[in-house]
Symmetry: C3
């Protein structure tokens, strides 16, 4: 019996997405530009690795993906690599909303959405003149900055002006820098179960700011390292239980507001609110990611929060595949897919032991 | 067949405790003041959510809890919300010792206990005049401070005097601040197996001190953030294996001393030693928590230390339920319960697959 | 039926190694000097604890270990406790290459090996005079320093000279201190499957540098804590997926180069590259460990990376036992063992439930 096919791009959280698809009984394929395909060929659980010359060649695969009834699962690098327009116009089946793409990608619309959802955000400043005396330090985020590259910190007006002059363009936003601790909440909005689940949490591991604290002040004074915020990893966290309900409610307000503001079909699947928590126990949301974030890669083998919802290790990647499988079983695949809705026969979840057998075989 | 009932208050580590009870075949109930009950209604594995107008109304439930043969499992917020007196006088069945409550709640008695157990603690100072030249910095903990709120740091006598003057009262203790790294050890003292288990370890995630290191010294100098120690989360750790035996021995000495000093019945169930480790590989214990701590919430789906004792994922919450189940099977429930000892029939552990079925059903 | 025996020294990652051996159906024994044996007597899964007066007495056990067809699994403390010479000359069966010991133990040879493998390392300086103006800060590592003890940081020539004068000897190396974030990659080179696996990642938890960031600059200025790098624990990490292929390739180059440079038999089993990642997304490798590292102790119950290779929780300790079991089944035990190749009958993997039964029995 042919298993239905889940495919994604080779980057970001593709391993987790494909492993989750595999565990839920799907065949899985990854599309990667030449040179980036080799990582995925290492893992026997991946059924197919499709190398393309560059991301531009992705669209040429579309007819074939549609003919094979594949479902694409997007991740945080889909927009970065394929572009927002391609994400919008792809005809292939795509898990999740595409209407949110425009709201997520534009910092002003994102602020409008989150504000409408009554989600607290740090103050934003259109120009340096708008920054009040009590607003320092500020963080500057250049447009199109991804993975924290292109961010910088300023302690004062002079410090900011110097750095902006060095930048030499005006495509940036200025935010108040909140002094607190970061915590990223990984949500999953299930259409099939009509509920919001919190599946895990992390904090980003950013170079060099997460190494600065290991340098005593006098060494910092001597060598003057410039703080940078490039994300190279993640580490796991849990949240004080008394704050968990507010984390749920923020997520629910974001989902409900999306239905009002963005698209009556709403907003579903995985998303992330990226927060800073201050000593008054308040969340400050610095960003929303509208699909699976890389911090979920910590939880391929389960998480303490997913264990409150499921009796099996449930990564966000696997959660997506589970939702798709259940939507299909309920005849509701069209409710979670945008673009071409794949046509699949009934299918059984492949036993997880299949994979064990395959590995052990090599040893005989 | 009716399953025996485990109940707790809705906060702190209630989700873990109830999930553990569920996994061991108990029915589980949570009592929460209106507004805090909604979190617990989200999770299908919780059998019953009992909303009360406020914590004051808890005692009115007692007769019913006793009639239903419920067992209360206390956590770190039991004393904060119900008060020490209520914890002492509750007639309902209560897992764990109550005699330790007075010793834990009074900083002087706590120091007496830990000192008698030969557990190294940072120097404490009755007044600012007692602080020696080599004792700086110091940390001031106001009485009743919970979750790290109300702590402050002083680098010098002048700095301390200024902050104490601003505080305006004298209900605080002063401790030497140990420069090192924090590590919290989660113990479980089993009566049934007559042994001490280390189940997991964490470090607290405190706002804003765990964010300060991300600010370069010159930004700190410009904006002068005041360090605060409010606990909003936890992250996982393991300890150098060569220090693990001393971690066990400290725990054993604390347990043995409790039998001598506090109550011949002793001290059992989960507890935590909160340590700072210095470069000479020595532990400095800053506090003991005499029941489940929130750091164990990291390990709802298991921990590397629990995996050395058990073949299944074993959180501290589940470990409690396991101990209760085994004590009951051995006719020794009275050895682990204070107050009313529940009267239960024999019971089988419910298969974990029950829960899976319940979740999947919604999708059909 | 007698189970074949895996043995190790009592320290470092012995619990993980033995637990992994147990899970794969081996009997397991630990050898520990008196006083360090007690930790291992706590855990019922360990079949045998052999106490010796001191590490010097280890060699006297050899004939018996050989007669019992035991296989030794070395860990990061084997060289520290038994010495390189003993590691080289032990006649007992030993999992892994011994030819790498000399290359790992000598910082110059280690640099030659990693450089030949095209693995980027921080600049090293033979003397203080070689340090350029842009090379500060530097870190000094005294010879034989283990677990980070004996490291120190210098911000300038004057600062370095003062500290070297205080040191009073010239047995040290000087490295450029890379400002970035640390990440340690845990590899496993399988002979049986002829592949390299990444099983997990961590960062070290070092006292006091990982506590310094919690002290504001003005407190550091007042109390002048001296940074130290003593490893007392580890915390888990995942790496940005787009950097994972380069992590694999570095590991593969290290393995391939070992075959050319060190020993035609090559280099196999667990090893670790200890990296610092800079904001340009480049790895800088500060050290290689040629056997199991303590950071893998985080993953006794599985890791997100091992879950991409295996359907069961797979620690590095268990991975070793799995490889040994599969090599034996394939008649290739001699390919992964140096010294006496144990003679074992065919054996079945013991059911994991054996251990559960043993624990529950005590409660009856």
């Amino acid at each position: 019996m042919t298993r239905p096919l889940i495919a994604t791009l080779g980057s970001h959280s593709a391993l987790q997405i494909l492993r989750g698809a595999h565990d839920e009984g799907f065949a899985c394929a990854v599309v990667a530009p030449a040179g980036k395909d080799t990582l995925y060929r290492r893992y026997p659980f991946i059924d197919e690795v499709i190398a393309i010359p560059s991301y531009d060649a992705f669209e040429a695969l579309e007819d074939d993906l549609i003919a094979r009834q594949a479902l694409l699962v997007p991740h945080g690098s889909f927009v970065a690599y394929l572009g927002e327009t391609t994400n919008q116009t792809l005809r292939a089946g795509y898990y999740g909303s595409r209407a949110v793409l425009r709201w997520e990608g534009d910092r002003d619309l994102q602020r409008e959405w989150l504000t409408a959802a009554d989600v607290p955000m740090p103050a934003g400043f259109a120009t340096a003149d708008d920054i009040g005396a009590g607003d320092w330090p500020v963080i500057v985020k250049t447009f199109g900055a991804a993975g924290g590259q292109g961010y910088f910190l300023a302690r004062s007006r002079g410090h900011l002006d110097d750095q902006l002059a060095a930048l030499g363009h005006d495509r940036y936003t200025i935010q108040r820098y909140i002094v607190g601790v970061t915590l990223y909440v990984h949500y999953f909005r299930s259409i099939v179960h009509d509920r919001l689940e919190i599946l895990s949490m992390d904090r980003r591991y950013e170079t060099n700011v997460d190494g600065l604290g290991r340098l005593p002040w006098h060494v910092q004074q001597a060598v003057e390292p410039v703080p940078s915020y490039v994300v190279v990893g993640n580490s796991p966290l849990v949240l004080r239980e008394s704050m968990l309900e507010e984390a749920y409610r923020m997520g629910e307000r974001v989902v409900a507001t999306a239905s009002d503001l963005i698209d009556p079909r709403g907003f579903w699947g995985p998303f992330c609110l990226e927060t800073i928590i201050t000593p008054d126990l308040r969340f400050h949301v610095i960003e929303i990611s509208c699909r699976i974030v890389a911090g979920t890669n910590l939880f391929v083998d389960g998480s303490p929060y997913a264990a409150l919802w499921f009796d099996e290790p449930m990564s966000t990647g696997r959660r997506i595949a589970r939702e798709v499988r259940e939507a299909h079983a309920a005849g509701r695949l069209g409710d979670v897919v945008t673009g071409h809705v794949p046509s699949w026969d009934a299918f059984d979840r492949t036993s997880r032991t299949d994979h064990i057998d395959r590995i052990d075989e090599a040893a005989r």
